[in-house]
Symmetry: C2
Subunit: 363 residues, 2 copies
């Protein structure tokens, strides 16, 4: 059973399960943050109490994420979907080209947004096999403004093992929404990293952006204030009222990651959880992983099927009865998806494997 | 003393004090929403448990706010500042003109954004007197695309008593961030009402938008998905992951408003609180309200000064010692500001008046 009484194992793809100590600390802060007599939702973003939380969030992110000094740590809103637009809006001129690695629905949405602002070149695509692999054959355009990739594909259960190369001066843009801080991250190889918080970092409604400082000033100038990275960089993410609660919870989550041993320890733990699942799936007669290429498999989202929709539905019902929630796969893949982000406990994976074994034995 | 132990009276302009029963219910939902075994931050936005919260939020907003059926109730992110951009981006053609009533810094920011997209005509401005009144002389342009106003001016302590008129077919856009649901609202006279939640509705990070359905399809077509109202209307505010926690808390706050007797009861209560403060200020020899015109005075933000910066600072310190927090005025006005939104208790106003009386007696 999970740590707190009556909790179920939540395999949701995001919003997703969070560390129990973070939830407990958050609970205590609702009526009074520390001994301030004012709850965390009620503190002015300009007041000392919240500014302390904000500053701790930034420095923990720098420390745990190994974010170099020449990068800004920004908090935005609108999720990755708004970043799909902000990146080309700021950095793709009308007659220029940006290169996109197309590895799933989110990359496709990012491409669609970029096309509103300039030209898009597809470096590679795994659409031919319903995005069940990370392509290794890649062709870049001549002088791309930047190269964009989705480091983990939540829906299709694939993940880049290393960042793609970039031709010439192009900077790399990484949508890391579903694997940020799940493993060591070489920020210095990326110009921009963005991530909606709701998988590995906290609640939905806050987007973490790590951006190289020299890029800030290179964004287009005639944009709306809320759509320029410079606005956020120049105002410590407080040009207007930021999502204070989200930033507070992100701070607690990153502090928790640090206490677990940091990104390397998280990675080892995530590798152990995913390996256990894939190992079972590769030997099962009933269940099989939808991603067969070991170099493409995600450690965050393990997608699997029986090959029979009715059987899938039966298993999901069976698993729910065992306290395993949120296993239904995305409609584009079907079957099951076990999202096992940082905060998902090892015990939950054990219970899932046991449930699959039991179901298979009786199938 | 406030209801819960160790709570102080929080006069913050936003994020601002919230109803204690809402905070208590939220606290209980953190580790498990109802008996789901999954906390409110962790539920998938596509799951039954959150969808129930979302649907309740929408129907409570419709009921309490008297929102007609031909309006959409949408939840966005980015605060009023993103709406400053989205309104003209969607509805102001390059060669068209929009009319703005300029009654403070927020209106000015809205104007600045609109100028990126088309022409702006200033209907009136109270800048000549540091925005300490709501102008009654107004001149509209010939055929404005829309008319925009800020119903309450948080910084300067002014508030429109009724909505401005609109010439011809122009629809009215209302930034109601700091007075939404503080008094009865005739939504049908407005094409769009938007409000950051962090004053009267909930935490920062969620923006409520009420928009007339016929306007949805009239927005420009070639915009980024996250910047079109149609995207939110067509996807029940869930084109991407919405700020689930914010929507949940907004639901609880609107339910609380309903339990208090709805908008009419809120208005009576807010009127009583503000009247008590203004009455004291109008008779004080030491303190005076910065807004003297009774028809311009805000019921939400009562701004006042002694006329002497040192005395102001002394009073703020004195008040803090009495458990009165967040009274420092915005730098553009100076002095003090008592933000007394819906959730701010009558007792807090009594304590403030007593503190002013005591300070004045010893001054």
């Amino acid at each position: 059973m999970p740590a707190a009484a009556n909790r179920v194992f939540n395999f949701s793809a995001g919003p997703a399960t969070m560390p129990v100590p973070v939830l407990e600390e958050t609970r205590e802060a609702l009526l009074s943050l520390g001994d301030s007599g004012i709850g965390v939702l009620e503190h002015s973003h300009r007041g000392k109490a919240f500014l302390k939380e904000y500053q701790e969030a930034v420095s923990l992110i720098r420390e745990v994420g190994g974010v170099p000094d020449d990068y800004e740590v920004l908090f935005l809103q609108g999720g990755a979907s708004l970043q799909f637009a902000m990146v080309p809006m700021n950095y793709l001129a009308k007659d220029a080209t940006a290169d996109y690695l197309v590895t799933g629905s989110w990359s496709e949405k990012a491409v669609k947004e970029a096309k509103l602002f300039g030209n898009v070149h597809s470096v590679c695509s795994s659409k031919d096999k319903n995005f069940n692999y990370i392509p290794t054959e890649r062709k870049y355009s001549d002088k791309p403004a930047y190269v964009h990739f989705t480091s983990n594909n939540t829906i299709f259960g694939t993940q880049f093992q290393t960042e793609p190369e970039t031709p010439g001066d192009a900077f790399l843009v990484c949508d890391a929404s579903s694997d940020i801080f799940s493993r060591p991250l070489d920020v210095s190889k990326r110009g921009i990293v963005y991530a909606g918080a709701q998988k590995n970092l906290g609640p939905s409604g806050v987007t973490l952006v790590l951006i190289r400082k020299d890029l800030i000033g290179r964004g287009k100038g005639d944009l709306s204030a809320m759509l320029k990275y410079s606005t956020f960089a120049e105002n410590e993410s407080m040009y207007n009222t930021p999502p204070t609660f989200g930033i507070y919870v992100v701070k607690l989550v990153v502090k928790w990651i640090k206490e677990q041993g940091g990104l390397k320890a998280m990675h080892e733990r995530n590798l152990a959880k995913a390996t256990k699942l894939y190992k079972y799936l590769d030997h099962s007669q009933l269940f099989k992983a939808t991603v067969t290429d070991p170099n493409s498999r995600s450690l965050m989202n393990v997608t699997f099927v029986t090959g029979d929709d009715e059987q899938d539905a039966k298993f999901i019902k069976f698993a729910t009865g065992k306290g395993l929630d949120g296993l239904k796969g995305h409609r584009s893949v079907g079957g099951m998806r076990a999202s096992i982000y940082n905060a998902f406990p090892q015990e939950g994976v054990d219970v899932l494997v046991a449930a699959m074994r039991e179901f298979e034995a009786n199938a």
